[in-house]
Symmetry: C2
Subunit: 135 residues, 2 copies
């Protein structure tokens, strides 16, 4: 199949498939006489693996590691679990960070009357005004 169909079947855009090939995440496929890339079910399977890993927030590099482990039948699953666990920690750190932002902003929005008066606690906060107590 051509790259377009491989893209459709894997959920990875043709652009990205070429990019993944370029950076060595996937190997270069066979070409037709007219230089078209030709993919089979195996390649699509790999692309789907990549798509899923990316969806789960693994970086392309981490995805490459997971892919190598996937292909390595003798790997220790502990290694995979470590990568996943580390990744979960990173995700949770990010979540906590975003939640901190939401908390601060929610407080400010709550304090902001939101009518047409120019007085605005949100801008006051951004400008560095000391927070008033008791909401």
């Amino acid at each position: 199949m051509n790259i377009g169909e491989a893209a459709e079947q894997s959920g990875v855009s043709a652009k990205m498939i070429r990019y993944y090939e370029q950076i060595g995440l996937v190997s270069a496929p066979r070409r037709t006489d007219s230089n078209y890339r030709v993919y089979g079910d195996d390649e699509v399977h790999v692309l789907r693996f990549i798509k899923r890993a990316r969806t789960l927030g693994f970086s392309v590099e981490e995805t490459g590691t997971l892919l190598a482990l996937w292909r390595d039948k003798t790997r220790a699953s502990a290694e995979v679990r470590d990568i996943a666990s580390t990744h979960i920690e990173a995700l949770e750190t990010k979540i906590a960070e975003l939640q901190g932002m939401v908390k601060t902003l929610s407080h400010l929005v709550h304090c902001c009357h939101g009518d047409n008066r120019p007085d605005c606690p949100i801008l006051d906060d951004l400008a560095g005004a000391p927070a008033r107590k008791g909401h």
Copy 2:
């Protein structure tokens, strides 16, 4: 003061101050005869505003809008609140997304025995194997 001190006082790196100037987020400051940028407390105040907005996860573009509203004494605070509310929604969407990843990954890690056997539910999942029921 020079850019270095402005950076130190505002928490925005000298690199970024120049970048913000380049993209028009802040206006070009006065220069000395030797072409050094000269900043005063007002500029530092603006930079701190920017720093705070960025820390709260606003994009540089959103920060520019907030900055304009800050300078506009006649603005409606409702407008600011809308920007903040929209931003909170975006943050919460992102959080939910990350939490979905964590949930899936946690489940997989939980299912993964993590010893030296090559059988690994995480890789099975990434490879698209149907999930087994009852953990």
